[in-house]
């Protein structure tokens, strides 16, 4: 062998399969297409700026200074919720490593028995009983796992997401278990903000028209027209969306389940996750535990890259025995101090990396680093058959 292998440390997010984009060295995680997200930002920031510039000075003086103050607080809350929804991990399930994938395949073959040649094997389904209802778990050919209940594969992001709700282009991310409550609070607070701005626009125009006349008012504050237009169209969509999600939360259903009609109809299973009590359902979704991300985006791993052929060199140690990660602490788990510095972007996602580094440090510090665990068959393109089946099952 004449190639020299150089091992370098990379962050795990650089090697994650799936079509996400990462920013801030793995702290921020979004979908690839972000155009509509920028539009959302522009609309919110633009409309609020116009409100603060044109209406607020007048209203603060003539009505109450509390009006702009409350508007600012509401605006910051909306932005915080939007950024948290957009930047956080929605609950992506990591793909199965080769050994786990093989184990599952063997179980499937054992369960199916011998299929006569020429016959198509039965679909890969596992039945589980949840609260005395039979729920079918589907096998994901891309991720090579049986999807947990309520998980679904997002074709846009190419990931299985736990408690998948929908992929929202407005926030530029999937909405799933981990960020659903932020998404709901975003739509709720945005509805309030839109109603607030709309109302005070009307109040402002009325008050000013009484003094100056209607046309003069519009000339003095041209922003008002724009704001009213944006708010009017936003109201219908966002308030409607908030109402829809309130309905879903009270029934403990996801948008995905609602669209597919998983729990509707007489012959179908009733929703086994619902507590049959609106308050309990709301509490579980909105006040439930804050789930950690299981994607270790900022963890370090070894990567081999061949360098120009000069002299023979032994292959790097990372192709040796694949001993599990918990045994190895030293090289890949040396978190840089940068992880501990709170960053100004996503506060939420810096925390799991700190917790992860803290939880791994007690492990014994022993030598060899593990092999970089990137499943070789992660992309369906390498396997024509599974990609065809995947299209059918999705």
């Amino acid at each position: 062998m004449s190639a020299v292998m150089i091992t370098r440390k990379v962050r795990k997010w650089e090697k994650l399969p799936g079509k996400n984009t990462f920013c801030c060295d793995g702290r921020v995680m979004m979908a690839r297409q972000k155009g509509v997200f920028y539009l959302t930002l522009f609309l919110i920031i633009g409309t609020c700026s116009l409100f603060f510039a044109f209406e607020c000075p007048y209203l603060a003086v003539h009505l109450s200074p509390a009006i702009p103050v409350f508007a600012i607080l509401l605006f910051f809350f909306v932005m915080a919720m939007l950024l948290r929804t957009s930047f956080s991990d929605p609950g992506v399930l990591p793909r199965a490593l080769p050994e786990e994938a093989t184990f599952i395949e063997m179980e499937i073959e054992a369960a199916n028995g011998n299929v006569p040649a020429g016959q198509r094997p039965p679909p890969r389904i596992r039945n589980v009983q949840i609260n005395n209802q039979i729920v079918k778990l589907k096998y994901c050919y891309t991720c090579k796992i049986f999807r947990p209940p309520r998980a679904s594969h997002c074709s846009i992001c190419d990931n299985c997401v736990d408690r998948f709700d929908h992929h929202c282009p407005w926030v530029g991310n999937c909405v799933g278990k981990r960020n659903y409550r932020y998404f709901y609070l975003f739509t709720l607070s945005l509805s309030l903000l839109t109603i607030y701005i709309f109302t005070f626009n009307i109040v402002h125009v009325v008050m000013r028209s009484v003094d100056n006349g209607f046309l003069n008012t519009l000339k003095e504050t041209p922003g008002t027209v724009l704001e009213v237009l944006v708010c009017f169209f936003t109201l219908w969509s966002v308030v409607g969306l908030t109402g829809f999600h309130t309905y879903l939360i009270s029934l403990n259903q996801t948008t995905n389940e609602d669209i597919k009609g998983s729990w509707s109809g007489k012959n179908r299973v009733q929703n086994p996750y619902s507590h049959k009590n609106i308050i309990k359902n709301c509490c579980e979704v909105l006040c439930g535990p804050i789930y950690p991300s299981v994607l270790d985006r900022r963890g370090l791993m070894q990567e081999d890259s061949p360098v120009s052929a000069t002299s023979a060199a032994p292959s790097s140690s990372s192709i040796s025995n694949p001993v599990p990660q918990t045994m190895h602490a030293v090289l890949c788990l040396q978190k840089t101090t940068a992880a501990l510095i709170p960053n100004e972007h996503t506060p939420e996602d810096a925390k799991p990396s700190v917790a992860a580094s803290a939880e791994k440090s007690p492990s014994p510090k022993d030598g060899d680093p593990p092999a970089p665990k990137v499943p070789p068959l992660a992309s369906p393109e390498t396997d024509v058959e599974t990609s065809i089946v995947k299209d059918k099952t999705h």
Binding site: F77, L93, L97, R163, L286, P292, L295, P347, A355
Partner: protein
């Protein structure tokens, strides 16, 4: 099978023979819980009661983390009131429990599993989908299983 004295010795003198994956138990919903069914591959390696104790303790930790009650409401409402910025300085309850779990698993590995040539991987490293138990054989011995292909008719459902 030889008994290994500690994790270091395990790594130096053993080779990975097989891996067993303990699956999730969804009978109570989507809360994190693992099956306590004893896999046949471990029959000769560890006592059933020890294994079940480990899984049951892990299940109780996860139940504690995901419990919906007074404390989780308080945490949720407080966090919401601060637009979730409080998590810049505070750890969530789940993260605290995850640390406890990591410590427990390491303890179990050191005291019970490594001496028997086994190793538990923290489920969080496998997306909370499975508890991966690695089975090691002494490099010197001929080994009872020459890789995962020898496992057949494994954990039937």
């Amino acid at each position: 099978p030889r008994s290994f004295h500690n994790l270091q010795e395990l790594r130096h003198s053993a080779s990975l023979a097989n891996k067993v994956f303990i699956q999730r138990d969804y009978s109570e919903g989507t809360t994190c819980k693992f099956q306590t069914k004893f896999p046949s591959e471990l029959e000769s390696r560890i006592e059933r009661t020890l294994f079940e104790d480990t899984v049951k303790t892990l299940n109780s930790y996860y139940a504690e983390a995901e419990k919906i009650g007074g404390q989780s409401y308080l945490e949720g409402c407080l966090a919401c009131a601060t637009a979730y910025l409080i998590f810049l300085c505070m750890e969530t309850r789940y993260e605290k429990v995850l640390k406890k779990i990591a410590k427990y698993i390491q303890e179990q590995n050191e005291k019970i599993y490594a001496p028997r040539g086994l190793l538990i991987t923290d489920p969080i490293e496998r997306g909370m989908r499975v508890i991966e138990i690695s089975i090691y054989e002494d490099r010197g011995s001929s080994g009872s299983s020459s890789g995962s292909s020898s496992v057949s008719g494994s954990t039937a459902r």
